[in-house]
C-alpha cells in the first residue's frame, strides 16, 4: 500500500487528537516548570538542619522581635515574634523579607575606591594615613549600640563623633531646647493617653515602632463611637490614618502648626487648662483664616481635646508650636504624654552640622544612604548594599542582615527602656567588616562591641531592675548570675525596664514660638535601608504601610 500525503495528514490529525488524551503534554508542562525552578543560577535554600532562632531586627532602631528560620545556617524566613513585649509580632514589610537582603543583587561584595575595585588592605592603609594627617569625624546612624561605643571612643580620640538624627529625634528636638533633656531620653506614653491629636503624623501608617500604635488603636478605638482612645487627625488630605481616626480635621496644607497655636490660644483664653504659658501671637480669627477652618470649629476642637485626658499632640515635623501645645496641655513629663524614660542617654553633635575641618569622615552602615556629608574630606562609607551613585571615596562592604553581633537599645518613641541582643545568626558570604571592627583595627586600644555587650549585660544584672521577656516574664532580681541574663538575651529575650514614673519635665517656654515654615519629615527615611529586595519593594510600594510625604492623596 502506498502512503500518500493525504494519509500522513490523516494519521497526524489522529495523533494530535489523541495526544491531549495522553499524559505527555500535561506531564511535560509540569516537569519543565519544575526544571525551570532548578536552573543552576537560581539561588536555592541550603539543605541542612532547619532551626528557628529568636532575635531582634537591626534594620532600624525599632528593634522588632524576630523569629528567624535558618536552613543549613542560612536565613530562609523571617516572622514577627509574638512574645516580644513591645512589637508583639508586628513587623514592617521590609523586615518580613529581610532574609532576602543578604542575596540582593546590589549587595556590596568588594571594597571600591572611587568606583574601582580595591582591597581592605588599601582601604586600611588610606585610613591610617588620613588619621595621621588630621581629625577624623565618625558618623553613626543608630547611636547607643555597643558598636556606637567603639565608634564614639575612636571619634573622641581622633576628632569627633556625630550621630545622625532620625525623624523621631528631630520631632522631639523642641523639648530638648526648652528643658535640656536629650531627645533620646524622651518617649511617647501612648498606652496611657486617652486623646491623641496627630498633626499629620502617619500613626496608622507605620509611625514609630511597628504594631505599637496600630494594636493600641485596634483594641481601644476601632469601630467605637465613643472610644477609650480618641484619635484626632489634623491633616490636609484623607490619609489612611485620617480615615480611621475618630475625627479628621481637614486643614489647608502646611497650616498644622498655625492650628496648634490657635488651639493653644483657646485653651489659655477659656482657661480650659491649668497650665501657665505665654499666649500665642496669632488670634483665633487669624488662625481660622490661615487654616480654612471656622472659628467655632477651632474652639470646639480645643474643648474636644481636653474633654478626655490625658491628651497629647504628636507632630510629623519639628514645628515648635505643636510641641508648645503639649506644654499647654500639661502633657510633657506626665503619664499619657511625652515622658522621660531614662537618664542614661547622651546628646550628640548632629551629623548634619557643618564640618569645619576634617581629614576624613567615616560613615557607619547605619547612616542612610541619602545622607551626604558636606565636606571635602576623604569619605569612608560602610554599607551592606549599594544605594546608587555616591560621593564617598571609599565604599566598604559591611555585614548584612543578622551577619554580625549587635545589640538593640531602646527604640525612639518608646516610653520604656528596653535592651536586646541580635547575635550573628548567619555567616557573611563575602569579606565584610563592620565600621567598629575597622576602627578597632586601626586603633587596637579600642574595645570590641562584644565586650561592650558583655559589660552592659553585667551592668543590667547588677542594677537588678526590670525583667526579661520571652514566652514568660522573669524579673532580673530572680536571676542567679549575670551570665544567665546574657545567655537569655542572646537567645532572644528582651530586657524591659520599669515604666516611666511620670517625672516632671520643666519646659522653659518664655515666649510662644514662631510658626516655622512646616517642613514635614519623611517618615520612611529613618528606617529604610539603601536598597530593598524586589518583594519588599513591592510590598512597600503597594501596601503603603509606610507612607512617604510624596504620596498622592
Amino acid at each position: 500500500m502506498k502512503v500518500s500525503r493525504r494519509d500522513l495528514l490523516a494519521w497526524s490529525a489522529g495523533a494530535a487528537a489523541a495526544l491531549v488524551a495522553t499524559p505527555v503534554p500535561w506531564k511535560l508542562l509540569d516537569d519543565t516548570s519544575i526544571w525551570s525552578q532548578n536552573w543552576k543560577w537560581i539561588p536555592q535554600p541550603s539543605r541542612g538542619p532547619m532551626e528557628v532562632k529568636h532575635s531582634a531586627c537591626t534594620l532600624c532602631p525599632s528593634g522588632c522581635g524576630l523569629r528567624v528560620r535558618t536552613a543549613g545556617g542560612y536565613l530562609v524566613g523571617v516572622a514577627g515574634l509574638a512574645s516580644h513585649p513591645v512589637t508583639g509580632g508586628a513587623l514592617c514589610p521590609l523586615a518580613f523579607a529581610a532574609h532576602q537582603l543578604n542575596w540582593h543583587p546590589e549587595r556590596l561584595r568588594t571594597v571600591r575606591h572611587r568606583g574601582v575595585e580595591s582591597s581592605w588592605d588599601d582601604a586600611r592603609a588610606a585610613f591610617v594615613k588620613a588619621c595621621g594627617e588630621g581629625p577624623v569625624i565618625v558618623i553613626d546612624g543608630y547611636p547607643g549600640r555597643a558598636a556606637s561605643v567603639v565608634m564614639e571612643a575612636f571619634g573622641n580620640k581622633r576628632g569627633e563623633y556625630r550621630a545622625f538624627q532620625g525623624t523621631e529625634w528631630k520631632v522631639l528636638a523642641p523639648y530638648t531646647r526648652w528643658s535640656g533633656v536629650p531627645a533620646s531620653d524622651l518617649g511617647y506614653d501612648l498606652e496611657n493617653a486617652r486623646t491623641i491629636v496627630s498633626f499629620g503624623a502617619p500613626l496608622l501608617d507605620g509611625w514609630g515602632i511597628p504594631g505599637r500604635f496600630t494594636r493600641l488603636w485596634a483594641k481601644r478605638s476601632a469601630g467605637q463611637n465613643e472610644p477609650e482612645l480618641r484619635l484626632i487627625q489634623i491633616e490636609d488630605s484623607l490619609s489612611r490614618t485620617a480615615t480611621r481616626a475618630w475625627r479628621w480635621i481637614a486643614v489647608r496644607p502646611g497650616t498644622e502648626s498655625a492650628l496648634a497655636s490657635g488651639i493653644a490660644r483657646v485653651l489659655l483664653e477659656e482657661k480650659l487648662v491649668s497650665t501657665q504659658a505665654p499666649l500665642p501671637d496669632a488670634t483665633v480669627s487669624e488662625v481660622a483664616l490661615r487654616t480654612g477652618l471656622d472659628i467655632s470649629t477651632i474652639r470646639e476642637l480645643a474643648r474636644m481635646i481636653v474633654a478626655q485626658q490625658p491628651a497629647m499632640a504628636i507632630s510629623n515635623n519639628n514645628a515648635p508650636s505643636i510641641a508648645a501645645l503639649n506644654v499647654v496641655l500639661g502633657a510633657v513629663g506626665e503619664r499619657g504624654g511625652i515622658v522621660r524614660r531614662s537618664r542614661a542617654a547622651k546628646s550628640y553633635q548632629d551629623a548634619e552640622a557643618p564640618i569645619s575641618s576634617a581629614r576624613a569622615v567615616v560613615l557607619d552602615a547605619s547612616v542612610p544612604w541619602s545622607f551626604i556629608p558636606k565636606t571635602d574630606a576623604e569619605v569612608f562609607r560602610f554599607a551592606a548594599w549599594n544605594g546608587g551613585p555616591t560621593k564617598a571615596d571609599w565604599l566598604l562592604p559591611a555585614p548584612g542582615f543578622l551577619e554580625e553581633l549587635s545589640d538593640v537599645p531602646t527604640a525612639p518613641t518608646a516610653s520604656v527602656e528596653t535592651y536586646a541582643v541580635a547575635p550573628a545568626i548567619t555567616q557573611a558570604p563575602h569579606t565584610t567588616r563592620s565600621c567598629a571592627a575597622f576602627l578597632a583595627s586601626a586603633d587596637p586600644s579600642l574595645t570590641s562591641a562584644e565586650k561592650v555587650i558583655h559589660k552592659r549585660c553585667a551592668d543590667l544584672y547588677r542594677a537588678r531592675v526590670g525583667a526579661l521577656h520571652s514566652h514568660q516574664q522573669v524579673p532580673v532580681a530572680r536571676l542567679e548570675t549575670d551570665s544567665q541574663l546574657e545567655e537569655q538575651l542572646w537567645n532572644g529575650s528582651v530586657w524591659v525596664g520599669e515604666p516611666a514614673s511620670g517625672e516632671s519635665i520643666l519646659c522653659a517656654l518664655k515666649k510662644w514660638p514662631a510658626d516655622d515654615a512646616d517642613s514635614p519629615v519623611d517618615s520612611h527615611q529613618s528606617w529604610s535601608v539603601p536598597v530593598m529586595p524586589a518583594l519588599a519593594t513591592k510590598l512597600y510600594q503597594e501596601s503603603g504601610l509606610r507612607e512617604s510625604q510624596g504620596r498622592i492623596a
Binding site: A13, G14, T22, D30, D31
Partner: protein, 194 residues
Amino acid sequence: MKRWLLMFSFGFVATLLAGWTAFPRVLYVKKPQPLEFRHKAHAEKSGVAECSECHALRDDGTFAGLPATEKCAGCHADKIGESQAEARLVDFYIKPGHETPWLVYAQQPANVWFSHAIHVKRAGLKCDECHGKYGESDQVKLYEVNRISGYSRDIWGHSMSRLRRAPGDGMKMSDCENCHHARHVEAGCLGCHK
C-alpha cells in the same frame, strides 16, 4: 471504511499507546538503591513495630529522616546473617563509617519546608497516608528519577493519570492542598515554602 478514517484511527491509537506506555518508560530512569532492604523482615525478626523506631523525630521535633548507619550498627556491627546486602552494608558502610547513600523517594524541592512533627504528632497522621505501605514491603523498589525535573516518580505518583491512586501515591503540592482542604486546615504559602 474510508481510507482517511483508517489512517486517523491508526494515528490516534498509536499515540494513545505510546503516550500511556512508552512515554513513562522514556521519562523515568530506574536506579537501584545502594542496598537491598526488607522492611517486612526487619519488622518481623527484630520486633520493630513502629516506623518512628528507625525514622525518628528528634527531641526538638525535627525529623531525622533516614536512619544513620550508626543506628544500623546497633544490630549489624558485624554480619549476623548470610545475605549479600548485609555483607555489603557492614563492609562498605558500617565498618568504614560511611553513610549509606539511599535515594530518597520523598525528596521535595529545596523551597519546601515540611514538619513531620506537626503532621504526625498534632494531626495524628499515619506514615502510610503519605508514604504508602513501605513498612510492609519485602524489598525496596527501584528508584525512578524523572529525567527533566530530577525528582522521584513518587512525587507525581505511579499512576500517570493521577486518577484512582492508592493512598500515599503522590506527593505533589496539590496532594498537600487536597488533604489540608479535606481537613479544613489552612497553612498559607509560607506555611510550607521557605
